[in-house]
């Protein structure tokens, strides 16, 4: 199935939950509603014609300094899916507000989401509902703030405190 057909399929199946689609630079992308994201991902993984068996990457972008998007939902959580059998890719995005930065966890679908989501929590402060153990991944426990947020200054220094044990 080519990218356009995948997007058609998602639109037909999830209707209004698929908010927007595009294929800039040839990367087919679906922006979906936060409430539906787990169902969309599950469908992408399980539907035979899609067969996205690999969650290749999961990350986020802070759009608070992006021209024209300062007022909109602050974060986008970005899933890159890949299907080994069909050799096609899909990008799924979810917009998240700053006030309630929570996204349903993808850990029940793919175990690798565990670490990816821990990293997103660590770097952006977005929580994942249903994650079994949402700890920081790269920074240390006592680190304050989330460094990849645009309002975290690049030159801020924090004392490095070793692990408790």
């Amino acid at each position: 199935m080519d990218g356009a057909a995948i997007l058609d399929d998602l639109r037909a199946r999830f209707g209004a939950a698929v908010l927007e689609t595009h294929d800039h630079c040839g990367d087919h992308t679906a922006l979906v509603d936060r409430a539906a994201v787990r169902e969309v991902l599950r469908y992408c993984r399980d539907a035979g014609a899609l067969g996205f068996d690999v969650l290749m990457d999961l990350t986020a972008v802070d759009y608070s300094r992006f021209p024209g998007r300062e007022d909109g939902p602050r974060f986008e959580v970005v899933y890159h899916l890949y299907a080994i059998g069909h050799n096609h890719r899909l990008r799924v995005k979810v917009r998240v507000d700053e006030d309630e930065p929570v996204v349903p966890s993808a850990v029940p679908l793919w175990p690798i989401a565990d670490w990816f989501e821990r990293e997103v929590w660590d770097m952006f402060g977005i929580r994942f509902d249903g994650h079994p153990d949402l700890r920081r991944l790269l920074m240390y426990e006592s680190f304050v703030g989330h460094p990849l947020r645009k309002d975290y200054p690049i030159d801020r220094r924090q004392p490095l405190i070793g692990p408790a044990h």
């Binding site: 800039h24 990367d27 021209p67 920081r136």
Partner: protein, 458 residues
């Protein structure tokens, strides 16, 4: 808990902490440990010598790569990418540059695509040599390590001849590469590959059927095909588990669709299968590089202009005196550091896109347009400005799919650069590979996932 009156032997407990009088022991390995080539901490729970639980802790080498990329121009991120996977930095350079090119919608020149292919494959061999050599050393096969580092030395000499550096090479550029290949590069490569093949044959004889090596590797650190896929593991580990997925084959880029090669794969998914895959891939990589060197469009040097090269200072003087007629056609004697960056070489390896590629030195010194073009790319607030949007580009790194997700807001700085690190998924699944096995088996398993701290922690 009752106090025990006699000593327990290691491994005496029969179940997970069930035998009377025993309890599981917590043992932290790392972050600094002689047998761990990489700064990582593994908290294990041991029952005798059996690992019952393992918790992998990473982040000790976090240098804020992604944050740093956001504060400079698009090309400023190139040196940072060197320091991701520092054993095969060229692949990172090219992957990042290709991601930005995808965003810009430009296609690099044919010769540049071949150069990227050749240099990426040489780097892959270096990476596999290091991985196999180091894991063999940790099992006591020190000779193998020395042999393989010797072979890597031959290849790093090639890298040095092309880029001027061994590790922090910064050779890729958005829109091309820093400089053309040196003149006798094909011959040098041939020689280095011949030496490497000798070493690989020796290592095959030393390791592949070796009883001790096989005892330590066969059936150890196994991960099923399903779990490997569910953990998004790519590269040699995935191919060792029976899935012949290779980005170079599945989504061909650069010159990978113009050379013949095989995707190496095995079925067992254990450490030994990973070793075999890496050994076969090195041969395939050399095959790719050799074919690419044969097929690379030559582009003759110094044909379409006359005159002998002159000194840059004399060149600038002539320009100042208004003697500009035909000046642009005169080549400059470049210092050895700038070798391969002359006007003709630039044309061969870089796209002719003034939005992206620095003008050649002849143009920058000899014409006002060239100088302005140079400034427009270098000055703060100008530079490369991809249109607003996002792009994901993936290539096959030495450890698996190396992806860059770049977001542009239309300015001269990346809005977001995300590196999909190929060795993070195997580390996330490491606990699944070692639980239930002996603590000594952790060493070959950890060696086989080839953790590279720079790329894992970014």
């Amino acid at each position: 808990m009752a106090t025990t009156t006699r000593e327990f032997m290691l491994g005496e407990g029969t179940g997970p902490g069930t035998a009377p009088g025993t309890e599981n022991m917590q043992l932290g390995l790392g972050p600094q440990h002689p047998a761990m080539h990489g700064i990582i901490r593994i908290n294990t729970e041991l029952d005798g010598e059996i690992i019952r639980k393992a918790d992998v802790e990473i982040g000790y080498l976090h240098r804020a790569f992604e944050k740093d990329c956001e504060v400079g121009g698009w090309n400023n991120a190139i040196p940072y990418t060197d320091r991701l996977n520092y054993v095969s930095p060229l692949i990172n350079n090219f992957a990042y540059a290709s991601a930005v090119e995808k965003l810009l919608g430009i296609e690099v020149t044919e010769r540049c695509q071949y150069i990227r292919t050749i240099m990426a494959e040489i780097s892959r061999v270096c990476d596999h040599l290091t991985c196999v050599g180091a894991s063999a050393m940790e099992l006591g096969a020190f000779t193998v390590f020395l042999y393989m580092i010797k072979a890597r030395e031959f290849l790093w000499e090639l890298v040095e001849a092309v880029t001027g550096a061994r590790l922090t090479i910064s050779y890729g550029r958005v829109g091309g590469v820093k400089a053309d290949l040196p003149d006798d590069f094909a011959a040098q490569t041939k020689k280095a590959f011949a030496e490497t093949r000798v070493v690989l044959a020796e290592v095959h004889r030393l390791l592949t059927g070796n009883r001790i090596f096989m005892d330590r590797m066969v059936g150890i650190g196994r991960l099923s095909r399903e779990e490997t896929v569910a953990y998004a593991i790519t590269g040699p580990l995935l191919r060792a588990a029976g899935v012949a997925y290779d980005v170079r084959r599945a989504q061909p880029h650069w010159a990978y669709d113009r050379v013949e090669w095989e995707v190496a794969s095995e079925k067992d998914g254990d450490n030994y299968a990973r070793y075999l895959v890496r050994m076969r891939e090195m041969e395939q990589s050399m095959r790719i590089a050799e074919q690419a060197l044969d097929a690379i469009p030559a582009g003759p040097v110094n044909v379409d202009f006359e005159g002998r090269p002159i000194e840059p200072s004399a060149y600038v003087d002539q320009g100042k005196q208004g003697k500009t007629e035909g000046l642009l056609l005169v080549p400059i004697t470049l210092s050895p550091n700038l070798q391969g960056q002359g006007r003709e070489a630039q044309k061969r390896v870089n796209v002719g896109d003034k939005r992206v590629v620095l003008p050649s030195k002849e143009h920058a010194y000899g014409s006002i347009e060239g100088l302005m073009n140079h400034f427009m790319l270098i000055m703060e607030g100008y530079g490369i400005r991809p249109p607003a949007g996002e792009a994901y580009f993936a290539t096959e790194g030495a450890n698996g799919e190396l992806g860059f997700y770049v977001v542009s807001d239309g300015s001269d700085r990346p809005y977001r650069v995300r590196c999909r690190p190929p060795c993070l998924p195997p580390l996330a699944a490491l606990h699944r590979m070692v639980e239930g096995e002996m603590i000594a088996d952790l060493i070959p398993t950890f060696g086989s996932v080839n953790m590279i701290g720079g790329e894992l922690d970014r």
